[in-house]
């Protein structure tokens, strides 16, 4: 087997950091395949159960990688490197992807590229059909992370702000649960909120007066819990739509307030959204308005590139340091820092 030169052909990428089993083949900025197998198994638990996620990953990883190669029409002989999410994420889940990717790369003598999951979310913007070139400001919000990233080049980003407690998506899920909605809570909360008024209840937009760019959602969550307690079961039932609308507005309000503050430096000509929360309608509308007012470009990647996927890992891997065979045989995601 000829030794492929790194960067001279498509990348095979694997992502298993949470509850989606993903594999993709990406050539430069072009997505040849992007397979996402979402684990519906967690819905009945009201949240992602790490052991359930790991079990599903081991069942799905083989077929998902095969499908990604098939759909791309690319034989392994043409693959130039194997990239994988090495963190942050659920450790048992990460180990399934990392072990598979390492063995696959080893048995083919391919370079191996451990890749940061958050760099993946940012790098989703580099992919075709409309690659966004830095500099831009990127808000990544999902069930696992909330991050404001200043992207000046494709090689990485500066963390301008991050959450001090819950992730935005986590706060949405927990609020949805308090209102008796299923998991994941985002879409259900948004639907319910459409029938209510965002001004009905005064949930403080936490951190909006805090001068920094960090986020915090626990106060908003507690405010909802107290309000529900005070209203009692019947009161919550009667006011569910208003509660949903007001709660969602408080969370979205904080995200937008911090984005707005970060944009005041005037350094960023464009804004990008990533992560599952980027699918939220009111967030998209508010950020669109903000960008319009400021005359900035707004990049909204398709939903399958917002939520966890392997194409974004392939994209990020192209500016990460590949490990040549056999330097990665002992690679352990538990031992290595997420970001170098």
């Amino acid at each position: 087997m000829a030794e492929p030169v790194p960067g001279s052909g498509p990348v095979l990428a694997i992502e298993t950091s949470c509850d989606d089993t993903c594999a993709a083949v990406v050539d430069g900025d072009r997505i040849l395949s992007n397979v996402i197998s979402s684990q519906r198994a967690h819905e009945r638990f009201g949240g992602v159960v790490p052991e359930v996620a790991s079990r599903r990953h081991i069942e799905l990883i083989g077929p998902v990688v095969e499908t990604a190669l098939d759909e791309a029409g690319v034989d392994l002989d043409r693959i130039s490197s194997v990239a994988v999410t090495s963190g942050p994420g659920l450790i048992g889940a990460l180990l399934v992807g990392v072990s598979t990717a390492k063995a696959l790369a080893d048995a083919r003598r391919l370079p191996f590229v451990p890749t940061d999951h958050l760099e993946g979310h940012v790098a989703a913007n580099f992919l075709e059909p409309d690659p966004l070139e830095p500099p831009f400001l990127c808000l990544v919000a999902s069930g696992g992370h909330t991050l404001l990233a200043g992207v000046r080049s494709r090689d990485g980003f500066e963390v301008l702000g991050e959450t001090l407690d819950d992730a935005a998506g986590e706060a949405i899920d927990k609020g949805a649960r308090m209102l008796g909605l299923g998991f994941p809570g985002g879409p259900a909360l948004q639907r319910l909120a459409e029938e209510g008024s965002p001004d009905a209840f005064d949930f403080p937009v936490a951190m909006s007066r805090d001068p920094g760019l960090d986020f915090s959602f626990s106060g908003t969550k507690t405010a909802l819990a107290y309000t529900c307690r005070d209203l009692g079961e019947g009161g919550v039932e009667r006011n569910r739509a208003d509660l949903a609308a007001s709660y969602q507005a408080a969370i979205v309000g904080q995200l937008v307030a911090k984005l707005d503050r970060a944009l005041r430096s005037g350094e960023w000509p464009a804004v990008a959204l990533g992560g599952g929360v980027a699918a939220n309608g009111p967030l998209r509308e508010a950020v669109s308005r903000l960008c319009e007012e400021r005359g900035l470009d707004l990049k909204l990647v398709p939903l399958e590139l917002c939520t966890d996927n392997a194409a974004m890992i392939a994209a990020a891997s192209q500016s990460s340091r590949p490990l040549a065979w056999p330097d990665y045989l002992g690679f352990d995601p538990l031992a290595s820092p997420w970001r170098s």
Binding site: E51, E66, L95, V96, L104, L329, G330, D332
Partner: protein, 238 residues
Amino acid sequence: MTAIIGFDTATEETVVAAMVGGESTFEFRSGPVEGDRPAHSSELLTAVEQAVDSVGGWERVGRVVTGVGPGTYTGLRVAIATAIGIALARTTEVAGIPTLDVMARSIHIARGGEGDGPAIAVPALDARRGELFFAAYDPGGSELHPASVGSPEALAEAVSQLGGSALVAGPGAIRFRSELEALGLELAGVDDPANHLLGSAICELGNQEDRNGQGPLEPIYLRAPDAERWNRERRDVV
């Protein structure tokens, strides 16, 4: 002659071996220092490459066999995912084999092989929460009691049903030493090699063309994940 590579990470140890024509060419075993977490992810693939080297390269490897548990969940998935990666990369045959089958074979080999070993081998692994994974086999490797999870008392009960002299060995026999001894069971000594998985036993069993146990790369858990148990119990109450 095609070579066989075998490995297992269902116990705290990383076990890897290679065999060509029934002759062992490589054997690796490494366990964590007391109190440390297992190093499966950092050790396994390096040892697999050494095993492949010992037989003259991947082109010579005709079959890869991995233990599929039961065992510690995170650990056993490292070996299975590694086998899946190899299966994706090469046309080599890749199969799974129950870890307790391998443990039983290891007990017989450690105890002098055919004839000299115990009449019944009872491999026992630590299943946490005060329980063991165990099974029972005759000297020919046929299963007398299926893979189970249960308390030391449940193991003793299963052994008493079988009759004949039985030897309990493995990491579970060390972990539950006092409990099992108090139940009157015969145990391998703490330093007895019978307590450890032999890589050569994986290769040996993996080499048998007609084995029933040799199958897909699917983990044997023997337990539902915690949340599932909790959900079921809650549903039972409602």
